[in-house]
Amino acid sequence: MKLTLKIWRQKGPEDKGAIQTYPVDGIDGDMSFLEMMDVLNEQLIEKGEEPVAFDHDCREGICGMCSMYINGRAHGPKRGVTTCQLHMRSFKDGDTIYIEPWRSTAFPVIKDLVVDRSAFDRIIQSGGFVSVNTSGNTIDANATPIEKENADKAFDAATCIGCGACVASCKNASAMLFVSAKVSQLALLPQGDPERKSRALNMVNQMDEEGFGNCTNTGACAVECPKEISLENIARMNREFLKASISKES
């Protein structure tokens, strides 16, 4: 198929950036979206132009590196799919496709479609862990049985890939879904229990400091999340946060 690509080009953080138009030809339905971008880049290199910079690594939907805003939607038109797992059969001959980076003050653009998501790392550093050292003396893994239902829920929350699509698709650029996924995972497990209050408070605090917006429960994040992280996690985090705030005051 033949496509017209309208791609955001921005030389660096200081550059203003603009949409530029590129035609591509010979695109096959079995190609992934990123393979289509490879074709474009190969053409640009041959013509002596600079290829479009974009983040990617695993191309399997698990590393969370790829991050394109396609036709106004984070990771494109399909639900539950990352950009790298989106295939060109979702488009048809003659289509025009708009490709932009994540947009959020907390995710500044580095170049073209590449943004800086280190704010997510700092949120995890503020409390997204269990404080246990590697000693080789931890108790036997089966000493504490965990109800299957909670274990499964914790797992579902833990499948967040940290891509940032939730932020990109939220009109407030809130990071609630991401933060709540980690808070929930650890709140659902006995190992996370001792620090659950400080964790909720610290992570929410860090999220605010990073400049992410407030959550107004529009639910757009969960619709666009490629791992289908549930809004239940946000509700759980709100409870965790409230409980922690109350006990802090009393």
Binding site: E42, R117, F155
Partner: protein
């Protein structure tokens, strides 16, 4: 250059690690604060090592090329992690895990290292659970297990098809905690460009900030490489796009021996190549072989009908199917080790029984598992006389709970629904057993330079068993290196901070700079990928699943030619000072072009078949690998030469005290 001393502790295998830990020199806590360690890589090996070293009190600097440590290639591991817990009470033990690993590796690994790996395996699971890793559990709330290839017990712990993700996020959380404490300084989007040695000791690195393009000098008392494997030398592999050999290769250029480069694992169950545009291949986890049955039609006309789409897998009757693994290997069936399963698939496809248009695909079929699970569910749920449809529906639900994400991924990529029709799969490059040579302490032959995880050669011999790479990465990083490195660092408590203004650092930086400038100013006509694809094709055709003398000699000549062409005609767009992924890629492909040649040389030199290394000249009448223990029971450790095929060979003889060398049989 030092000779190859494995420094294996004395005494019986089972006492070696305990004795060694007792004998190791310790660094007192106050002195640890005076010592800096650099860790390259934040996969399972690197994150766990960096976190543990920081907990112990060392100052750690960690580097990764991705935008966050959480995105290392380990994140993509699917099926599971082994540990000798014997929770299933099926007779598992440290010795059995050790034995399976040695045998699975076709008797080409070092007994002492492999035993230690089995010994610390149980601790890994305890540690991960304590961190909040949500492994799969049964209804009683206890940890569940599955089986992997090449073994007769169920010792694999898992988290759906996302085990690597969950383990890495566990290690990443431990690392994050140390970053918050200021004990680890994290350098994201940084690439190690060279190791700096001072008086024969590794004393730091030259790194490149991938956003600004600036070169940086970092000094340390020891450097630990956890930079992963080199499967991408084949261009198409299941590795992440950025996985590379460069860090290990730079170490090799600085004197570290590269061991057994030709031991590469071709994984039997991957989604077949679909066209020219393909940029990578996708694994379908080995865990699927617990429930999926592998087959091709018995009749070529059926194969043709499937290719022409006039028939589907489900239209072929039972008696017209050849479950060739079950036929050839009745005792292990679909769960033979990877090398065996891959060759068997190739054999059928070469004989003309492939089931897709390229002729390179076989079926992996879940129909009978769906039926079996459906019936079990009907019993559990007490449904009398369930309809066939009900059975299938319930069966599909069970299969979904076990492998849901893998099935989704398959559908996404192929547009076929594996809940309703058999998957098509074919072998693909997946893992590299070879890597930097290390001693028992995981130190390379360059003092103070260590290698962990897939980057080193230890533990897996000529073939790795499924679910053992995650185990090794975490064993190295959490439980082995943090101890063994103390022995070396204890001599460095009075050294003081490493001076990065020294001549050695200047020279290293200068040579990195020149190389980058050469690439960018080359003004050629062909893209980096052009060369990478050509290299990949030579590797796959001549140094892939089956190798022979003639092909290997041709490969060496062809790779040399591609390398020369690369340096003459490569075109790297953009600038040195700025974000430039093409430039990053160019440097990595340049190193692959050297490694590929050494790889072929190693394969040429090893005149036997063992594990993943199959030489057509050395096989039994039934087409099984034919080892030559008399002449080749050694580790091939290569010393760098500018012409890689002229590298100098050093041999570490392998001696086996606890296991008897046998012909591997899974019949």
């Amino acid at each position: 250059m030092a000779s190859l001393k494995s420094v294996t502790p004395k005494g019986a295998l089972k006492d070696q690690w305990t004795n060694h830990k007792n004998d190791i020199n310790l660094v007192n806590p106050a002195n640890k604060r005076l010592i800096d360690v650099i860790v390259i890589g934040t996969g399972l090996a690197g994150s766990s090592a960096a976190a543990s070293l920081a907990e112990m009190g060392y100052n750690v600097k960690a580097f990764c090329f991705q935008d966050s440590p959480r995105r290392a290639h380990s994140i993509a591991a699917q099926g599971g992690i082994n540990a000798a817990k014997n929770y299933q009470n099926d007779g598992d033990s440290t010795f059995r895990l050790f034995y399976d690993t040695i045998k699975g590796g076709d008797y080409r690994s070092r007994e002492s290292n492999t035993y230690r790996l089995a010994e610390v395996s149980a601790n890994i699971i305890d540690q991960c659970v304590a961190q909040g890793v949500p492994f799969a559990r049964d209804y009683g709330g206890l940890l569940d297990n599955r089986s992997f290839g090449g073994v007769l017990v169920s010792r694999t712990f898992y988290a759906k098809g996302q085990t690597g993700q969950q383990l890495l996020l566990g290690a990443y959380s431990a690392l994050s905690r140390q970053i918050a404490k200021g004990k680890v300084t994290m350098y994201n989007r940084h690439e190690m460009m060279d190791v700096v040695t001072v008086e024969g000791k590794a004393r730091g690195i030259i790194a490149r900030n991938l956003i600004t393009g600036k070169l940086e000098r970092h000094g340390a008392h020891a450097v630990v490489l956890c930079s992963g494997g080199y499967g991408n030398v084949f261009f198409l592999s299941t590795n992440a796009m950025g996985s590379n050999v460069s860090a290990a290769w730079k170490a090799h250029r600085r004197g570290a021996y590269f061991a057994n480069p030709c031991y590469t694992q071709i994984h039997p169950t991957c989604i077949p190549v679909s066209g020219e545009h393909q940029s990578k291949l996708t694994l379908m986890s080995e865990s699927l072989r617990n429930d999926g049955r592998i087959w091709v039609p018995k009749k070529k006309e059926d194969c043709q009908a499937i290719i022409n789409k006039t028939k589907k897998a489900e239209d072929i009757s039972e008696e017209d199917r050849d479950y060739y693994l079950e036929r050839r290997y009745p005792s292990f069936g679909n769960l033979v080790p990877r090398d065996v399963a891959s060759r068997a698939a190739k054999e059928r496809c070469d004989a003309g029984f492939g089931v897709n248009s390229t002729g390179n695909a076989v079926f992996l079929d879940f129909a009978s598992a769906i039926e079996r699970y459906g019936n079990l569910e009907a019993n559990v749920k007490n449904i009398k006389n369930p309809s066939p449809q009900q059975i299938k529906d319930m069966g599909r639900e069970v299969v979904k709970s076990k492998y849901g994400n893998l099935f989704d991924m398959y559908k996404q990529i192929t547009d076929d629904d594996p809940y309703f029709t058999a998957m098509k799969i074919y072998p693909a490059v997946h893992y590299t057993m070879g890597g930097l040579w290390v001693d028992y302490n995981l130190m390379t032959n360059v003092e103070g330079l260590y290698a962990c995880g897939e980057a080193n050669f230890s533990d897996h011999g000529a073939n790795r068993l499924g679910a053992s790479a995650l185990m090794q990465g975490l064993a190295d990083g959490y439980f082995v290196l943090p101890y063994t490195i103390g022995d070396y660092l204890s001599k460095d408590i009075r050294t003081g901070a490493i001076d990065t203004t020294s001549e050695a650092f200047s020279q290293a930086e200068q040579s990195v700079k020149e190389r980058i400038e050469k690439l960018i100013n080359n003004n050629g006509t062909k893209s980096v990928d052009h060369f990478h694809k050509r290299l990949g094709k030579v590797m796959w055709d001549k140094v892939g699943m089956a190798r022979n003398e003639k092909g290997l000699k041709e490969a060496i000549a062809e790779i040399t030619e591609i390398r020369e062409d690369f340096w003459a005609n490569v075109k790297v767009p953009g600038e040195v000072n700025g974000f430039n992924p093409e430039l990053d890629k160019a440097g990595r492909v340049a190193d692959f072009l050297e490694l590929g040649e050494l790889f072929a040389k190693d394969a040429l030199d090893r005149k036997e078949s063992c594990g993943g290394h199959f030489r057509e000249e050395y096989q039994t009448k039934e087409g099984e690998a034919l080892r030559d223990d008399k002449n080749y029971a050694y580790v091939a450790a290569w010393q760098y030469n500018e012409v890689p095929s002229k590298a100098k060979l050093h041999k570490e003889e392998l001696t086996f005290k606890e296991v008897e060398l046998k012909t591997r049989s899974y019949k």
